[in-house]
């Protein structure tokens, strides 16, 4: 297919959006032709969701233009975008689980007979509509009775039926099994035939190669490349997504513990942990004073692995040993009791208690560990907080500021401080440097190294390959919710990691 034979359906030029000083998207161009599937790829923070939110009018753009069929459009909100012909279907399906499939298709525009909403008419129309997509299900049943795949298809059919010209699919396959993905793809193919343009966001590379015609790669809010899918080798795609800079990082490994690594004793030994839909069975051993990096693309199961080890989700099988003793890791409390700590990926939702002060957030984990009765004296709390503010250079006027009012980097430091104060044996850091300015970035990496030197076991999840290569004694590579391999010592390099990820 050639790009110039037909006029573009959607043309986005110079799209820019800035949130509180850091640009989330800067000067991005994006073109979508009728009847093509255009995948937008990138790691977290690349700007994918900002892009679709600007196109669907969730956010107002700072600069740039959006043309639909050659005409400039100004989508005010998702509903307006829908009226213009841009429908979006999200991973968390925006339908009503308690209504029937038929009603979901026609909410807000129910067919009426003699002024009354007619369920029969609704059902008939729904059946007919679904039949055009070769889907034959009982439309009178609750939406929630169907699998995610069917729900997703219902959402797509609804969007298309509302005269959509452009369909945005945000991670549509992340909770589907192989068979369901096939069903969904057949619907997508029939949409292509109708000349609908599809913007696809997904983190499954195999699926990208299977269904998409064109790929745009974003990184840190910028467009780094646009390619026809068949002309783009896997490895090049991954290197674009991860944006490695050869000259800067090659050979810049600073891990010095490699040599005497074998002397350290094992802190945690996990055997055969797994949870369906999250991660396949894996073994993992972490020694004291060792930094284990988890590398893999977004959605590869790296976060899930961390959560399973920390007891947020219970493993369905396997066993774990802490310092040789068998333990059950079925709740964060248990894990913390064994000396674990976790700095989560989603700081706002899973980490911070926003209305509490910096001081209270810092001492919370220690206090929870000590129990409600053994109250940390106020002076001691202050001391902890002030020490941490000084040591981690947390930018706050004082320890009594609500933590929700700090910037992202400082919030991350507060969460780190929370665990440092509670003095864990083993820390899991999930994307500790995301969304953090350069200065803080280096500080956090130094802290990670220092903690390992003090004998703590560390597990760091990061999409920054250079970073992982820099400090890890061992790197665990994941893809598609599966542990692929482990690299140790001199094997560790960005090239090796990417090779492992890209390998078929």
């Amino acid at each position: 297919m050639s790009t110039n034979e037909q006029p573009a359906l959607l043309e986005v030029r110079g799209l820019t959006k800035t949130f509180t000083a850091t640009p989330a998207l800067s000067d991005v161009d994006f073109t979508l032709y009728p009847g093509e599937v255009h995948a937008v790829l990138g790691e977290n923070g690349a700007g994918k969701s900002t892009l679709i939110k600007l196109i669907t009018g969730v956010y107002k753009r700072d600069a740039g233009t959006i043309h639909l069929n050659g005409k400039t459009i100004e989508p005010r909100n998702p509903r307006h975008a829908q009226e213009l012909g841009i429908s979006a279907v999200y991973q968390e399906i925006n339908l009503i689980p308690t209504l029937s499939v038929a009603e979901n298709l026609f909410v807000g525009r129910q067919p009426r007979f003699l002024g009354m909403v007619s369920m029969q008419l609704t059902n008939n129309k729904a059946r007919k509509l679904l039949k055009t997509f070769n889907i034959d299900i009982d439309v009178t049943r609750d939406l929630s009775a169907y699998s995610i795949a069917i729900q997703q298809i219902v959402a797509i059919v609804r969007g298309v039926d509302l005269s959509a010209k452009i369909l945005i699919l945000d991670e549509p396959t992340s909770s589907l099994d192989r068979h369901e993905v096939e069903t969904l793809f057949s619907v997508i193919r029939s949409l292509k035939e109708r000349g609908i343009g599809i913007l696809l966001i997904t983190h499954f590379l195999d699926q990208v190669y299977e269904i998409s015609d064109r790929i745009t790669v974003l990184r840190n809010g910028r467009k780094v490349g646009e390619h026809l899918t068949k002309e783009l080798p896997r490895k090049k795609l991954i290197s674009e997504m991860l944006g490695r800079e050869f000259t800067e990082t090659l050979g810049k490994r600073s891990s010095q513990t490699t040599a005497d690594n074998s002397k350290h004793e094992t802190f945690l030994d996990v055997k055969g942990f797994a949870k369906r839909g999250m991660i396949e069975s894996f073994d993992l051993e972490i020694k004291k004073g060792e930094i284990v990096g988890l590398a893999g693309l977004l959605g590869s199961g790296r976060t899930e692995l961390g959560q399973l080890v920390f007891g947020i989700n219970r493993s369905e099988q396997g066993e774990a040993f802490v310092e040789g003793k068998k333990v059950r890791l079925n709740s964060p409390r248990k894990a913390i009791h064994h000396g674990f700590g976790l700095c989560p990926e989603d700081r706002k939702v899973e980490g911070l208690i926003a209305d509490l002060t910096v001081r209270e957030n810092i001492i919370l984990a220690l206090q929870a560990k000590m129990g409600w009765y053994r109250h940390i004296p106020y002076r001691r709390q202050e001391q902890f907080a002030n020490e941490m503010i000084a040591a981690l250079h947390i930018a706050t006027p004082d320890a009594e500021k609500p933590v929700g009012q700090l910037s992202g980097g400082n919030q991350q430091k507060v969460i780190l401080a929370r665990w440092l104060v509670s003095n864990p044996e083993f820390l899991i850091l999930d994307e500790p440097t995301r969304g953090i300015d350069i200065g803080a970035h280096a500080e956090i990496i130094n802290i990670i190294k220092r903690l390992a030197k003090e004998g703590k076991a560390m597990m760091v999840i990061s999409s920054e390959l250079a970073e992982i290569v820099d400090y890890s004694d061992r790197v665990v590579v994941l893809r598609d919710r599966k542990k692929l391999t482990e690299l140790t010592g001199d094997e560790i390099s960005e090239d090796a990691i990417m090779h492992a990820i890209a390998e078929k």
Binding site: E103, V117, D142, Y146, D177, K482
Partner: protein
Amino acid sequence: MKSRFFPLLVTFLVFIAIYAYCYSHFSSFGSMRVVCNLLRDNAHLGIAAIGMTFVIISGGIDLSVGSVIAFTGVFCALMITREGMDPRLAFAIVLGMGTIFGAVMGVFIYYLKIPAFIVTLSGMFLARGMAYVLTTESIRITDPLYIRVSKLVYIFPDKGRFTFAAGAFLAVLVLGIYIAHFTRFGRNVYAMGGNETAALMMGVPVGRTTIMVYTLSSFLATFAGIVLSLSKRSGDSTITVGAEMDIIAAVVIGGTLLTGGVGYVIGTFIGVLLPGVIRTYLTLDGSLSPWWIKIVIGVLLFGFIAMQKLLSTRPRLFSFRRQVRPTNVSTA
């Protein structure tokens, strides 16, 4: 079988079981007399409960209904007896007031984002307080219209008296079912209660629907007050204290999910009658103490809530779902 019918089905079965038990002890449960009395005695609760059903399906709550019923009764009595107003005019005025009252509560809830619980709680204080301010005495109404209405009775062969109140209850029941299932407003209420953000994205006018739901609830509560006033032929500011909790309990027992999105008006009808049946049984029995009714309602309430909890956490146990669980994502 559709999972959303399950709570309703349980309600039906429990009702039939209890009714059958009562019938086996007292054959008068088979007479129209008991049936008509059940309808008459619970008419005001039932009418208000139908309004409450919409509120709860939409995901909200309305604590003001009991007070609104009382205020309506007092207002009508005062206007008719003391001011000599035509009852029809008084009804029209009070219905108008009730409608505005509900709409204002809806505005507070939707536009000012104040929790429905606390808005309708102050609505409850306000309506009850207004009733107290009007009068704390019980006022008898002797208007000819009231006498005429009281004579509007269909008498069954076994002396069962089908009164105006019973008729009004059934009429509102039919109206409620119609609104819930055959109007866009009704369907929108269900959609909103199922998932408000999704409903908004799908083009449901969430703001307007919220306001209309509370308006409908207050309107029906006012109407319930009029019906009660007509059958009691008096106004008293101390009646129906705490009725809102009985009404909410009835709605829950009727199979409406308190989390919103699922519920049936007909279920509420049964949920209202159920305590009435137990009360009748206790009266006929005579040896059992009246407090059992509250305890039984509490037990039923617990049972239904526990069932709802199980339904929402272990759906596969109850609704024979064809759920395909993601098994192996990475076979690609």
